[in-house]
């Protein structure tokens, strides 16, 4: 009997940004059990829930919408499923929405190949630097030499422009309720299957010439989507286009 593939979105904001990908996956399986949805188990020696998540979010990076697919053995109305998921979600991983997708759709991890990242930098950290000056600095990093990243004992090189094809969009705005000014930088970061430049690595490289620590700013994945060869975007769930802006 065919199963049903339910896709749901959730956010990881505030403290939730400090969760690792494995911790999020573990929290989601427990969420789904609490929601008492009719999930399907694998048939191996150690049966596991058939759950698949999208591209990993580095620790310290917030997200407005992440996605996960879970296989169900019977149909549950999306409105009811959303309600159950929302009431079973832990405080740092609120569920936003859900919908069914066709079982033959490609996996989220393979299909979601681009993201929009936003850096929110307190104006005070930039001292008296102008927006234009910051923009120049950022562009120098984006078009600059390869970034070296050591992972599992191996040194890998990433040319930033291969992953961030377009210049960053910068804007200054009164950002929070206390009226403190921030500079907002947005950019599209590609997620190729062959290995992606991590958003935290690129953000740290951008901030380094300015003497700003990554931990002192807010970095958020504001959109996660599929980028078609013609430059158009598709989203994992309807109504999730917000924040794509910069491509």
């Amino acid at each position: 009997m065919a199963n049903f593939r339910l896709r749901f979105s959730f956010s990881e904001q505030g403290r939730g940004a400090l969760l690792s990908h494995l911790e999020v996956q573990r929290a989601l399986t427990r969420l789904l059990r609490r929601a008492e949805l009719p999930f399907v188990l694998t048939q191996g020696f150690s049966p596991r829930m058939k759950l698949a998540t999208g591209p990993a979010l580095p620790v310290g990076i917030a997200s407005q919408a992440e996605y996960a697919d879970v296989e169900l053995s019977r149909f549950v109305k999306p409105a009811e499923a959303t309600c159950r998921l929302q009431s079973a979600a832990p405080p740092l991983l609120p569920v936003l929405d859900c919908a069914y997708v066709r079982p033959q759709e490609p996996s989220l991890d393979a299909w979601l190949n681009a993201q929009t990242i936003e850096l929110r930098i307190d104006q005070a950290l930039l001292a008296d630097r102008s927006l234009e000056e910051v923009c120049r600095q950022f562009e120098a990093v984006r078009t600059g030499p390869a970034l070296e990243v050591e992972r599992k004992g191996k040194l890998r090189q990433y040319i930033p422009a291969d992953f961030v094809p377009d210049p960053l969009e910068l804007s200054a705005r009164t950002a929070d309720s206390e009226g403190e000014r921030s500079v907002i930088a947005r950019f599209m970061l590609l997620l190729p299957a062959a290995g992606a430049l991590r958003s935290d690595v690129f953000a740290a490289a951008l901030l380094s010439p300015l003497g700003i620590d990554l931990f002192d700013i807010t970095v958020t994945r504001i959109a996660l989507f599929h980028l078609n060869p013609d430059g158009s975007c598709q989203f994992a769930l309807p109504g999730r286009a917000a924040g794509v802006g910069s491509q």
Binding site: R26, R34, P90
Partner: protein
């Protein structure tokens, strides 16, 4: 600094540390009242605001069942708000100190020094310096006498509380025993006293009259001609003996406490359900076996109902049936059968933390594992020779161990872990070599009875601890082996092991020495604990952090003869520093068991046979008939086999 700024600053520091998710709180299942405070609600005036602390990292502390029980009990009271406190990792503590951020509660990020009370669990002796680390990071004076009216009462409890003297100067009070029945009245009394404006000293005097409460400042250590006695200071009215509190209604208390589900992976990341409390096996070295008596068991129907509800509330995919000896739970086969039928279809597994040495345990493990990969089984023969197993009252025969390993191999396991101890009372070199000889015979059995490839692939993983005499056990008077002697025995054991198929792991002789001093020391040891902590021993209980030289220096600086505390054989009539604490097990029973050990005679498990007159049931107000014979005819194969082999 305003509370919300402190919280934000702490979070920024946590983000820079390893494993930031340890500091996140906001987990699923936090009590409603605490969740409301997290959302910005003010704590109502008059509420008793405190925390329960496990003096180690979040992943260890959140695994501890006592913290779950205590917070659930306290938060069930409308006038109490109880949070959790854990010790941050080395890197985060350094960042906090350099930025002037004190230790905060987990849920509301309240500075610990602003609480009304801080309950601290004492899991084992080497965690004592970690308690000082907690107090210092919280910006609290280490010594209770130096804490003023504005600061929280610091109350200790847990497994190491039965000789509280080495920690006496650091605590305002200790709670001795099980909290289920007395914690609510303790909290209510404290709320009343604070409401009445009672001073700190007045509060402590009142608390000293409650069951299980020991207020060390109302007592003094007196050297007698024969040891040290701890007696009430004249005129305080404090009781001369403090009796451990026993949860008589254990069977009716909730088996699942709270439903907090951590984000980060903790040591025991599953639903833990305590099926029984206490152990009647009577191993003479085991402190828990004495201090959690008498045995009390929950009803299978209640357990099944609570496990299903607990899994639904938490979303865990594993449940662990915990106790000191879960395979001694009388209705275990029935419970496992019913659990398996309900849990298998939804992919929830069930585990047992410890197995006794018999075929039934292997059958239970086989039933639980089903077709899943079989990682390994763990058993504790404790000693290699029958003579020494009789000395320690480990009622296990070599034949039973052979049968058990045979059953494990036949049922698909390829690895068995065996726990032994060295340094046990009356131990000879022959007893140490007997461990190696026993392993040799196990291997021979595997090669004789199984396929050669299976026997070659089968691993015996051996873990060898050093015996440490613990208060309130029949071995509390025994001398502990010196470090040099333990190391010699370790080498002797290595030489006697089979050449292949055995992996060996030791517990360090150095840590055992310090643990022994902290376990049986008196109040003078407190100065050495403080000195060692000042020298950097705050997290010596954590793997890789222990440094013996810090302790040796601390003992020397304080003029403490640590070797004497550790290695001196006491006489059975000596006054002991913990003599004012009663666990309910009588001194006469302990002396009788000590003498039986010397005579290499065993004492039967009272749940199979007659009452052994330890005194625990009478002290707790429990009819011994409800314990004696509890399992007679249920699964008494081990005792029957033992009688057969003795004959």
């Amino acid at each position: 600094m305003p509370a919300h700024q402190l919280s934000e600053q702490f979070l920024r520091l946590a983000a820079r540390a390893q494993y930031p998710s340890r500091s996140l709180d906001h987990e699923w299942g936090v009590s409603t009242a605490l969740a409301e405070v997290q959302e910005g609600c003010e704590i109502p005036p008059g509420v008793l605001h405190g925390a329960f602390c496990y003096p180690a990292s979040y992943e260890l502390g959140q695994s501890n069942n006592a913290i779950k029980i205590l917070t659930a009990l306290a938060n069930a009271l409308p006038e109490v708000l109880a949070e959790r406190v854990f010790l941050p990792g080395d890197d985060l503590r350094a960042l906090m100190r350099s930025d002037g951020v004190p230790l905060l509660t987990l849920e509301t990020n309240t500075p610990v020094r602003e609480l009304d009370f801080l309950g601290v669990t004492l899991p084992y002796e080497l965690s004592f310096p970690a308690v000082l680390e907690v107090l210092d990071l919280a910006d609290l004076p280490l010594r209770a006498a130096e804490r003023d009216e504005s600061l929280p009462l610091v109350i200790g409890g847990g497994p190491c509380v039965y000789n509280p003297e080495p920690l006496a100067p650091f605590f305002d009070a200790f709670f001795l025993g099980e909290a289920e029945e007395e914690l609510p009245s303790l909290m209510q009394r404290l709320t009343e006293l604070r409401g009445q404006g009672a001073t700190r000293a007045e509060q402590l005097c009142q608390l000293a009259t409650l069951p299980g409460m020991y207020v060390p400042s109302l007592y003094e250590a007196v050297a007698t001609g024969s040891g040290t006695r701890t007696v009430p200071v004249a005129g305080t009215g404090a009781p001369p003996v403090i009796e451990r509190v026993v949860a008589r209604s254990f069977a009716d208390s909730p088996a699942v406490c709270g439903s907090v589900v951590p984000y980060s992976e903790v040591i025991h990341d599953r639903l833990a359900v305590e099926v029984q409390r206490g152990c009647s096996r009577g191993c003479r070295f085991c402190q828990a076996g004495m201090t959690y008596r008498p045995v009390r068991q929950r009803r299978p129907d209640d357990l099944l109902r609570e496990i299903l509800a607990g899994l639904k509330a938490t979303g865990y995919d594993e449940v662990s049936l915990t106790s000191l000896s879960t395979t001694d739970y009388a209705q275990l086969p029935e419970l496992l059968r019913r659990l398996k039928s309900r849990l298998d279809p939804v992919g929830v597994s069930c585990s047992l933390p410890s197995l006794r040495i018999d075929a039934f345990s292997v059958e239970a493990a086989r039933q639980l594992s089903g077709g899943a990969k079989k990682s390994g089984l763990t058993f504790a023969p404790e000693a290699g020779s029958q003579r020494l197993r009789d000395v320690i009252n480990k009622n296990v025969t070599e034949q039973q161990l052979l049968d058990t390993v045979r059953a494990a191999a036949a049922n698909g396991w390829r690895r068995v872990k065996l726990y032994f101890m060295i340094g046990l009372p009356t131990e000879t070199d022959a007893d140490v070599r007997a461990i190696g000889e026993l392993l040799q015979r196990l291997q021979e059995m595997l090669f004789e009875e199984f396929d050669r490839s299976l026997a070659r692939a089968f691993t015996l993983s051996v873990s060898v601890a050093s015996f440490i005499p613990k208060p309130h056990t029949p071995f509390q008077w025994e001398a502990q082996d010196s470090r040099e002697e333990l190391q010699r025995k370790q080498r002797l054991l290595e030489d006697s092991l089979p050449r292949r198929g055995v992996t060996l792991h030791y517990h360090g002789a150095d840590t055992s020495f310090v643990e022994g001093v902290l376990a049986r020391g008196d109040r003078r040891v407190a100065a050495a604990i403080e000195a060692a902590w000042r020298a950097g021993a705050g997290t010596d209980a954590w793997e890789g952090n222990f440094d013996l030289t810090r302790w040796e220096q601390a003992f020397a600086d304080c003029g403490l003869d640590a070797v004497n505390i550790s290695q001196r054989q006491r006489t059975l009539d000596e006054d002991l520093p913990w003599g004012h604490i009663s666990t309910g097990v009588s001194l006469e029973y302990l002396r009788r068991e000590a003498e039986l050990a010397r005579a290499e005679a065993t004492t039967a498990d009272c749940t199979f046979e007659a009452c052994s007159a330890c005194g625990a049931c009478q002290a707790a107000g429990i009819d011994p008939k409800t314990v004696a014979g509890l399992r007679r005819g249920v699964s008494g194969d081990r005792q029957q086999a033992r009688r057969g082999s003795d004959a």
